[in-house]
């Protein structure tokens, strides 16, 4: 510690942080332990379950597989940045409406994968949705209500309507 710490600048949920980080610190630990953004969950810690999914420079990544210093200069969106603190994001509203949350552990990662899907294509097919969340494991729901929630969100957000 100390001597070999690295200086990084990272924007998380529209807020710029200048931080000294240990070279071995993982991004998930930076978010959870140093920035207090505990909405991001760690599941397997090996990039296999998707629970720690965040959006980094517009792409979903497993934050357990990225070192904090690798995020230098990047823009990061976590689940805390989805709503505005008062209102939930339409994707989150749709998850509630469709009953897409059971134990909730996969939910933050699922919501961010859903956002990445809809950012890329505001009107995705069921197949595209299922591919888009295939890196996020869920043991409770059987995925159907999550898929339905993403379709629902697509419609509310202005896409949707096309039954491809």
């Amino acid at each position: 510690m100390g001597d070999n710490r690295l200086m990084i600048k990272v924007t998380v949920n529209d807020r710029l942080y200048e931080l000294q980080v240990d070279p071995e610190l993982r991004l998930v630990d930076l978010l959870r332990d140093e920035l207090g953004l505990t909405g991001t969950k760690e599941g397997c810690g090996k990039g296999e379950c998707g629970a720690c999914t965040i959006i980094m420079n517009g792409k979903t990544v497993n934050s357990c597989m990225v070192l904090a210093f690798q995020a230098d200069g990047s823009e990061i969106l976590t689940i805390e940045g989805m709503g505005d603190g008062e209102e939930l994001h339409p994707i989150q509203e749709a998850f509630i409406r469709q009953g897409a949350v059971q134990c909730g552990y996969c939910t933050p990662g699922m919501v961010l994968s859903a956002k990445a899907i809809l950012d890329k294509n505001p009107n995705p097919s069921e197949e595209e949705i299922r591919k888009g969340i295939s890196g996020n494991l869920c043991r409770c729901t059987g995925y159907q209500k999550i898929v339905d929630a993403i379709k629902d969100a697509a419609e509310v957000m202005g896409g949707g309507g096309d039954e491809r």
Binding site: C44, K46, E48, C49, G99, V101, Q102, C103, G104, E126, I129, R130, K131, I133, S134, G135, N136, L137, C138, R139, C140, T141, G142, Y143, Q144, K145, I146, V147
Partner: protein, 333 residues
């Protein structure tokens, strides 16, 4: 070449601990000074929705919107035992405990209201967190006001109740008993699969499941339980196996080696909720947790048999096993 087949399987599942094992749940409910309803239960909600169910039950009996229920959950300082969240028992056991408690509290509230109005029960009813006299609706009195009146009289609008049914151990010689379980949930699953005869790979392309839950208190959550249970059943049927080497070392301790279904392994499922009211259940309801997954694997195994004549007797039905059996079948044994 690919072949398709359809299979069906049913399960009858006794829920609760059963077999004479003591099994109960206790709840308490009070009207708070602001008129909101506090439900205390130690039932652990791990996402299956028991706290939603008990909120609905209390709200229904006490005539309050479900939004005005405050839950106090799982605190040994203030809640009594509700038993474990296991054995598919919480909707039935804690549901019944909350129903019994709400009914006791209803009589306590009416008893006080009778003293206030000088009118008896049939002339009074609950609506929107108020006691309302028939024909004199303008004289309604809110739960908040009633809580104040109760406090002035040194009384409490509070009740505790439980549900503690008796079961009997089965005769070990034949498994029969007077009442081994309080009640049974039934589920039938129909699965359609497509098998690649070249690779032995099985894809579940369609699934319909019909759970008899007595009464679906929250139908969307019943669907959620069925869909999740069926997905686990697909994993059990086709993928999931804990492998050990000869020294007992776990060979597949990771999610990349112990595979569970992803969104691409699970088809769109249809849940047909069957409501055949269970007289002992809260509002007729029964549990759905575990039976949601039990009939899935046999339905898939039957569908594989229907598709290609191969009978898999050891789960999971991996491509290797299916190819081996297909070869045996082709060789005439």
């Amino acid at each position: 070449m690919k072949k398709r087949g359809v299979g069906i399987a049913s399960v009858m599942f006794g829920f609760g601990y059963g077999e004479g094992f003591p099994d109960h749940s206790t709840a308490s409910i009070r009207i708070k000074p602001d008129g909101r309803v506090e439900v205390k239960t130690a039932a652990a909600d791990v996402g299956q929705g028991v706290l939603t169910v008990v909120s609905q039950i209390a709200a229904e009996i006490l005539g309050v919107p479900v939004e005005s229920i405050d839950l106090v959950n799982g605190d040994t300082a203030v809640t009594r035992s509700s038993g474990s969240t296991s054995a598919t028992r919480q909707t039935f056991f804690t549901g019944n405990a909350v129903m019994n408690t709400a009914q006791i509290l209803r009589s306590i509230i009416f008893d006080l209201a009778v003293k206030v109005y000088g009118k008896t029960y049939p002339e009074l009813y609950f609506e929107n967190s108020c006691v309302v006299p028939h024909g004199a609706e303008e004289k309604k009195i809110s739960f908040a006001e009633l809580a104040k009146i109760a406090a002035e009289r040194g009384e409490k609008l509070e009740a505790e109740g439980s549900y503690f049914p008796i079961t009997t151990p089965p005769d070990p010689s034949n498994g029969q008993g007077e009442r081994v379980y309080v009640s049974y949930t039934f589920v039938t699953t129909i699965a359609e699969v497509e098998i690649d005869l070249g690779t032995g790979q099985v894809e579940v392309i369609r699934m319909v499941a019909a759970p008899d839950v007595g009464q679906a208190i929250h139908p969307q959550n019943v669907e959620g339980q069925m869909e999740g249970g069926s997905a686990q059943g697909i994993g059990m049927a086709l993928m999931e196996e804990i492998l050990f080497d000869e020294y007992g070392t776990l060979l597949n301790p990771n999610l990349s080696t112990y595979l569970i279904p992803t969104s691409l392994d699970v088809p769109r499922m249809q849940t047909v909720i069957v409501e055949d009211e269970e007289p002992l259940g809260p509002f007729g309801a029964k549990g759905i947790g575990e039976p949601a997954m039990i009939s899935t694997a046999p339905a898939i195994i039957n569908a594989i048999y229907n598709a290609c004549g191969v009978r898999i007797k050891e789960l999971p039905a991996t491509p290797e096993k299916i190819l081996r059996e297909l070869k045996k079948l082709a060789a005439g044994n």
